[in-house]
Symmetry: C2
Subunit: 437 residues, 2 copies
Amino acid sequence: MEQDLTESPVPELEAPVEVLTPEEYVTTLVKRAKGAAGRLSSLPTAVKNQALEAMADGLEEHEAELLAENEKDLEQFEATPERKALGDRLRLTAERIQEMAAGIRDIARLPDPLGDTPKMWTRPNGMQVGRMRVPIGVIGIIYEARPNVTADSAALCLKSGNVCILRGGSEALHSNVAIARVLSESAEKAGVPAGAITFVDRAEREVVQLLLKQDRYIDLIIPRGGESLMKTIAEHATIPVLKHDKGVCHTYVDVDADPEVAERICLNAKVQRPSTCNAMETLLVHHSIARTWLPLLVEKLTAAKVDVRGCAKTCQLCPEVTPAADDDFGREFLDLVLAIKVVKNMDEALEHIATYGSQHTEAIVTKDYARAMRFLREVDAGAVLVNASTRLNDGYQFGLGAEIGISTSRLHARGPMGLEELTCSKFVVLGSGQIRE
Amino acid sequence: MEQDLTESPVPELEAPVEVLTPEEYVTTLVKRAKGAAGRLSSLPTAVKNQALEAMADGLEEHEAELLAENEKDLEQFEATPERKALGDRLRLTAERIQEMAAGIRDIARLPDPLGDTPKMWTRPNGMQVGRMRVPIGVIGIIYEARPNVTADSAALCLKSGNVCILRGGSEALHSNVAIARVLSESAEKAGVPAGAITFVDRAEREVVQLLLKQDRYIDLIIPRGGESLMKTIAEHATIPVLKHDKGVCHTYVDVDADPEVAERICLNAKVQRPSTCNAMETLLVHHSIARTWLPLLVEKLTAAKVDVRGCAKTCQLCPEVTPAADDDFGREFLDLVLAIKVVKNMDEALEHIATYGSQHTEAIVTKDYARAMRFLREVDAGAVLVNASTRLNDGYQFGLGAEIGISTSRLHARGPMGLEELTCSKFVVLGSGQIRE
């Protein structure tokens, strides 16, 4: 069976390998992936870059086929009103295929992180010691409906020398299988070992549960998705996990904020793309600035179709605002909804953030130096910003290049995860006969 | 109950809190620990250093009491012949107490890793971005019989701004409780929040299992111990784990090795302290050098009381050597025992290491530049050494300062874990009104 799979890495959906039990299927998949890891880790950068270019070309060449497979997913998709956003994300277009290809070419142009040894130092006994970047190994990525994640993840893993095992949402199965097949076939023709881009083409829930227990073969799981996925992971994973979980992001507008800067930042943080994890969900405003500044902001938010929900004080200042329910604070709306709370001072703001925030992205707007520094120091989050929109917490915006997502874990990588965060390190020692005295 | 614990952080063994169920006990403990994390994270370096000095002084001042408590552990310890090494590790002496105190003072002198922001870079929109080191939060350390681990771990966690929850082996319970009480009382008097050094003074296995599930309160588990501990962790932990697992370390003596250097390194790697995880367990020798070099080495190993077990070829060259059993390769002897295998070339050595090694510490001895570089590149381990003893894979030897152990995990920290590895990072952004376009 393994032999067969090697020759046809992503089996045709039309002829599924469902003769295998889920256990056999997962075992076959992960062994093949692990088998590719050694060779992939030492593949020259030039070969990897050629493979990435070939993958991008492949997507463009197979545009018609990809759109046809995507059409099958869209036909099966139940487009209820509350699933409209999901349906939008699921749809492929010629333009989106172009964007995927462009994204892969961007990754080809980024520096290869492997072998990077930022410094070596010499010990008193004369030996030189340093940390060298090496691949993590085999990374399982479990995600939901956006087919472009398939292309991004495969490209980032390949460039960083990691085998990927991709498991997308069942709604996008046809699209994902087609994308993954094009990518892995193109990569293999360019010299990448078979199995380096592995896609899980069976939709059973059991398959995910089995994958999460393959600690002998998979080194890291990156889940990207909602609460039910995170719950499955927490319950079943015996493999280290870097979560890409929810963002309940706050902006605190200090008494000393520049009113115009504060307005620009708050509107951007809420309105520019409300469905993302780094959009603002709650605005905290110092009471002294609230009186003059808040009514004007609420007016603009309302004009931008934002459903504003305020604390008692907010409602007093802006009578058109709906009173917030208790659970509106600490909630990830992912939509044009904003909770607003007027606070009596920065202590109250910090306490609110510590209590209700998800340690994802937190911002302050102020002209006061000491309070800016205090906020930076005391707020515990993946990214803490002074006088900037929470929407800027992003791999591209931070200059890391493409990212695989924004990690909400504390260990290994916190915040945007680029190529560097997809590596681990080994100590290397250049000696000349040193021993332990 | 929480009030009581705050005032008397480590309850007296004589008056145990066993009125609490294990669940209640663990909940009380972890809530108090979590409560201390915020204040500890922002404690000034000077206060932390004063606390560390006070902790060192405290151990010295309570020497008689610590020795008396240790005596209780030693009396209860069943000193069977195979547990001799364990008994040795369990014993406290005035000298060992001095060493613990000196270790803590060394940690006081190391630079504080917190707030460290190695670089900030400016983005095209003018905002400055960097990564700042912050504490991980609450770290659970689960270890076996050596009481000095209690002092080392408490000091390293305090310096790096982390709350520690320490759970030592039941054999050392009296000693550990006494040490932890002295440390936490001394630290509190110097301004460290109560709960920052928390010790688990109940020996039930169930308590460990409950601890491993406190993912709301504990951010990281560091286990240091044998296979049964690792199994418990794998089964129960819902918290990220950095393992300090076994070391099956190899030295490959290449055809182009300097015979004297090779002999010195191999003897040191096996004999200097065989009970450690970075001692050599298997020697791989190129067949061309084996003929002349191996018999002399075996003679010296035998003189050093090493039980040498060889492959067929080794036994042919050195008739006094015992034939190795199949499972002698890949085994962690932790003792004066060495497996030797003659290989036909470097490929075979690399393959043997990939198959039998535990990715802990691997070394090559060679004068050949290309093979040295290939070994460095291709071997997958926490530390890869050229012409140096495996015993040098150590925080002090590498210049990291004190270490909490040698991580065998791939993520976050691999190899010796010093203060820096006990931190995570947050992105900090200094903006001037930037928004996402």
